[in-house]
């Protein structure tokens, strides 16, 4: 883990409304219940790659360190595996808070620390919207940078392995009863707009 970027927390770094904003979003209601026990940080399978542990992110929300959080890698690294929430003694939905932070970061145009991630989420959603289910080859094509030969080779290699094990379908998936999932999407986008 890299050492934290902030050496001294100053009042310039603290956004007074940030905590209240996050508490209004889904998953944020009980964020003040956190007792900073560290079960999330200890449970997180991706913590080694993060610049701040999930627990530290929660603490920074309490303080209102908006800029530090929204420009951190942690919010993009979280894989939403829900190990932390299953074990959290205070019932805090950390992945939901992470996605709330991701939304805020995109809305307020913070450059993502992990560039590919916003694009990944975007493409993922687009593909699901199109077919009703994820279609991996298309996702690969969409997120791989065309000017990076190394990346293309790596992804192709992974793709072949998956293909060999029958985990990858080249044909686009079909979902019966398209109307049902499009209704779900409509509802979600309506809620998001509200």
């Amino acid at each position: 883990m890299k050492p934290s970027r902030c050496h001294v927390i100053t009042s310039q770094m603290l956004d007074k409304t940030f905590l209240a904003d996050i508490m209004k979003m889904r998953g944020g209601q009980n964020i003040l219940d956190c007792i900073q026990c560290g079960v999330c940080a200890g449970s997180c399978h991706a913590a080694w790659a993060m610049d701040f542990t999930p627990m530290q992110i929660i603490r920074m929300i309490h303080l209102g360190m908006k800029e530090t959080i929204l420009s951190s890698a942690t919010i993009w690294i979280c894989a939403s595996c829900y190990t932390c929430t299953t074990r959290c003694p205070r019932g805090i939905d950390i992945p939901l808070i992470m996605s709330a932070l991701k939304h805020t970061a995109i809305k307020e145009k913070f450059p993502a620390k992990i560039e590919i991630k916003p694009k990944f989420h975007q493409s993922f959603a687009e593909i699901v919207l199109k077919y009703g289910r994820i279609h991996e080859p298309e996702l690969f094509l969409k997120i791989t940078r065309k000017n990076n030969l190394h990346e293309i080779m790596q992804n192709a290699k992974l793709g072949l392995t998956l293909l060999r094990k029958g985990k990858l379908k080249l044909k686009a998936p079909k979902v019966n009863k398209k109307t049902q999932w499009s209704a779900i999407f409509e509802k979600v986008s309506k809620e998001a707009a509200a």
Binding site: Q36, G38, V39, G42, T53, Q56, G91
Partner: protein
């Protein structure tokens, strides 16, 4: 013979002339004039301090010389000087229950600035007090003899010490214990923090003392099955399970256990040791006798064996023993039912139960006493992880039940102590403590913790995330939250400091005793700070972990406190029963049992009689809340000092002056909510003169009839304010109000005209807010339509003529 009421009204200025707390905003002379004009008022006087000596003299003179038989004092809150004036009136020879106080300070002069409005309201307050006074009846306090014997439920250290303290004070004590020996959890412990005394060495002498004390009788293998009677005179039924060993003959030589062929896991060793089917949980057990475990004994399961009987030299074994019931008469009850360790297997990530080397703190205590070894291979562990807060401080868990929200209070210190003893036992020991927050809050605890930090115990600030068996070791994953870094370590053993939960029978026991448990399942004390060992019921007390998790020192303190409280209660020899209780008219009662179902104090009992079931209210248990009065269909119940007549006349009194619109009656619970209203006055919070307060023992006293009367008397809205610690809160209050609203709609009154709220004393701004919002609401809806009012009046008249 009914006495013609001769009423004296004494109005206090609360200060000099126009400077007084009352006279500054209330024209007291006008109030006096108004009072004098009311029928029955013989004397109306104004004085600067009615509570002072000359003021009290005035009242005495009025009673002695003018033959007054009802006194109304218009002054400050009754919470301030009710007792003063009661004494005053009693000394002058009048029954103190013939006194009424009109609160024209906290509810009037301190609330309003406008002298005109305040005066009108004061006149109204005094008028209503006079109306109530007219209907007051003399009441007498009764006294009842108490039985000077006490029952202690639970033979752990709390119960043992409470029994010792009480018996040493000279009271007969019955100590009831459900297992075969007293001693409880303390007997299972090795050493105690922070002094590191041996637990058994300080406990067992006390156990022996209990056994030998002439005033203590131990009932082992016994449980309470029934509690009847009232404070001072309880009748207890206990069930004694058979021991199958004659305690008086058994010498505890242990020959029987040596020969017994059945081996089972020992409960005392928390599954980490074995015992026979005939056993003693531990050598120092009291009573010092063996007992047969019927579930495992071959004679009881298969009908063969009886080896123990053959080898018992004392001929103490008796397979014919039967279950017995016994009745005890006691004056007071002490609950010391203790705690249980929470089952940590509900907190899945710690893999408890999946690997033998993952143990609870209590199991680890036993391992330390037995000689420390890993349960899996009997080798000495070198590296142990102590995980704190297992199941504690959680508000959510994947498993519904296995967690508690509160702190276990002892986990930190206990783990630190165990780490220390582990270091002493094993030369190159490596204890790690994974903690959330170290709570070292007792005398000497912080110093103990500091010593251990300097003693090679590694403290990691971070709740362990998971425990996984890994290559013959146990891998603990956690995060060092001070560094913000995840970590992994391999250990030989893992000790889980599991949370503490109430003994399984606590809920049932409290229901039998008519006391309450809190949301945490532990017994609720009367007052968190001032009455910490009293329960909601007079004569029933609690101490130790039955009240909540705590350490031995605090348990001892509480057991001493409880003994003192019990001695105070029993020592007086009699208890006085306040006369403000509900009474049943036998003629009218039809035995429908509605009152019995609703009584929160379990004061109502069914009495079988030849012709029909009769209900009887026990004045000792009755708290005088009056909830039973409106539910009685035959109007057989009435509440002393807040009778139907008195209450109705108070409500009718609102009609006297048509001064404000809308007019709102606030029924306020007389303790907490009334005190809250007083505080609103003391802080000079302002609310509209529209609010007319009537204090009631509980808003459950108000039935539909009273609501109708309130609306008929010109009120446009009704507010209920209940104290948060009263008997009628939460769901019960909602139900009560919901029922009334339905009835209101049936006669054409909008349900919006009734509102209820609860308050604590400092929450008066919330109450004032409710008043203001409600006044606004009623102003918007407008006054009750005259047509509906007329109909209600007709209905009431019809009801009365019937």
């Amino acid at each position: 013979m009914k006495q013609e009421p001769k009423i004296g009204v004494y109005i206090c200025r609360c200060g000099c002339d126009v400077e007084g707390n009352i006279s500054a905003t209330v024209d007291v002379e006008k109030v006096k004039e108004a009072a004098f004009s009311i029928n029955g008022v013989k004397i109306a006087e104004v004085y600067e301090y009615v509570c002072s000596n000359p003021g009290q003299q005035m009242i005495s003179n009025g009673i002695k010389e003018h033959g007054l038989n009802r006194i109304v004092v218009a002054a400050c809150s009754p919470r301030m000087h009710l007792e003063t004036f009661k004494r005053n009136v009693a000394q002058a020879g009048l029954n103190p229950y013939l006194l009424e106080i009109a609160n024209i300070r906290e509810q009037c002069s301190w609330i309003h600035d406008d002298k005109k409005i305040a005066t009108v309201k004061a006149v109204d307050l005094v008028g209503r007090a006079v109306e109530r006074a007219r209907n007051l009846k003399p009441l007498k306090e009764k006294t009842v003899q108490v039985n000077r014997e006490a029952l202690v439920i639970g033979g752990g250290i709390a119960g043992i010490n409470a029994s010792v303290e009480l018996a040493d004070k000279g009271y007969q004590v019955y100590l009831v214990e459900k297992s075969s020996s007293i001693g409880g959890h303390m007997a299972q412990l090795g050493k105690t923090f922070p002094t590191l005394d041996c637990s058994s060495c300080i406990l067992t002498p006390k156990m022996v003392y209990v056994a030998q004390h002439p005033l203590i009788k131990i009932f082992s293998l016994s449980e309470i099955t029934k509690v009847e009677g009232s404070p001072g005179n309880f009748k207890i039924t206990i069930r004694k399970r058979p021991r199958f060993v004659d305690v008086s003959k058994c010498t505890a030589c242990g020959e029987c256990a040596k020969k017994c062929p059945v081996t089972v896991k020992s409960e005392f060793e928390v599954g980490l040791g074995q015992r026979k089917a005939i056993y003693q949980p531990f050598r120092q057990a009291v009573p010092s006798a063996y007992s047969i475990d019927k579930e495992h004994c071959l004679y009881f399961t298969k009908g063969v064996c009886k080896v123990c009987q053959k080898f018992c030299k004392a001929d103490a074994i008796d397979f014919m023993q039967q279950e017995e019931t016994q009745e005890l008469n006691v004056g007071a009850i002490v609950v010391s039912s203790g705690y249980e360790t929470l089952d940590p297997s509900g907190v899945k990530q710690y893999s408890y139960g999946l690997h033998p080397d993952i143990v609870t703190h209590l199991q680890f205590e036993r391992l330390l006493v037995q000689g420390l070894h890993r349960p899996s291979n009997n080798e000495q562990p070198k590296k142990i992880a102590f995980i704190l807060c297992v199941g504690s401080r959680m508000v959510e868990n994947v498993n519904e039940n296995d967690y508690c929200e509160y702190c276990c209070n002892i986990g930190c210190m206990n783990a630190i102590k165990e780490a220390y003893v582990f270091q002493k036992e094993v030369p190159d020991a490596e204890p790690w403590v994974f903690y959330t927050d170290i709570r070292a809050h007792g005398k000497g605890y912080e110093e103990f913790y500091a010593r251990l930090r300097n003693h090679g115990v590694r403290f990691v600030r971070g709740r362990a995330a998971e425990v996984v068996p890994h290559n013959g070791h146990l891998r603990v994953r956690a995060a060092d939250t001070l560094l913000g870094m995840p970590m992994e370590e391999d250990f030989d053993m893992v000790v889980l400091s599991a949370g503490l939960v109430p003994s399984p029978g606590t809920e049932n026991l409290s229901r039998m005793l008519g006391i309450h448990t809190g949301s945490d399942g532990f017994i609720l004390e009367r007052h968190h700070k001032l009455r910490p060992v009293d329960t909601q019921r007079e004569g029933v007390y609690a101490c130790g972990c039955a009240l909540g998790p705590k350490d031995i020192r605090e348990t001892i303190t509480e057991s001493m406190a409880v003994a003192s409280q019990v001695a105070t209660f029993l020592g007086k020899g009699e208890v006085s029963v306040p006369p403000e209780v509900a009474v049943i008219d036998d003629e009218k009662c039809n035995g429908c049992e509605e009152c019995l179902k609703i009584c929160p104090a379990r004061a109502i009992e069914k009495v079988p009689s030849t012709f029909r079931t009769r209900m009887e209210i026990n004045p000792m248990s009755c708290t005088g809340c009056g909830i039973c009065v409106p539910v009685c269909r035959t109007e057989a119940i009435d509440l002393n000092h807040c009778t139907e007549d008195q209450l109705m006349s108070q409500i009718r009194g609102v009609e006297l002056k048509e001064d404000v619109s809308p007019k709102i009656i606030a029924f306020i619970e007389k303790n907490t909510a009334y005190a809250s209203a007083d505080l609103a006055g003391q802080t000079r919070a302002h609310y509209g003169t529209n609010i007319r307060i009537i204090s009631v023992p509980s808003t459950g006293r108000i039935g539909f009839r009273h609501l109708l009367q309130a609306f008929a008397s010109g009120s446009d809205g009704v507010v209920f304010v209940e104290g948060e610690d009263s008997v009628l809160t939460g769901e019960k209050l909602r139900e009560h109000v919901g029922r009334l609203k339905k009835d209101m709609q049936a006669v054409g009154i909008e349900s919006l005209r009734l509102v209820s709220t609860t308050t604590t004393i400092p929450q008066y701004p919330k109450m004032v807010d409710t008043f203001e919002v409600f006044i606004n609401r009623i102003s918007k809806i407008g006054p009750l339509s005259p047509k509906v009012r007329e109909e209600i009046k007709k209905k009431l008249k019809w009801g009365e003529s019937k």
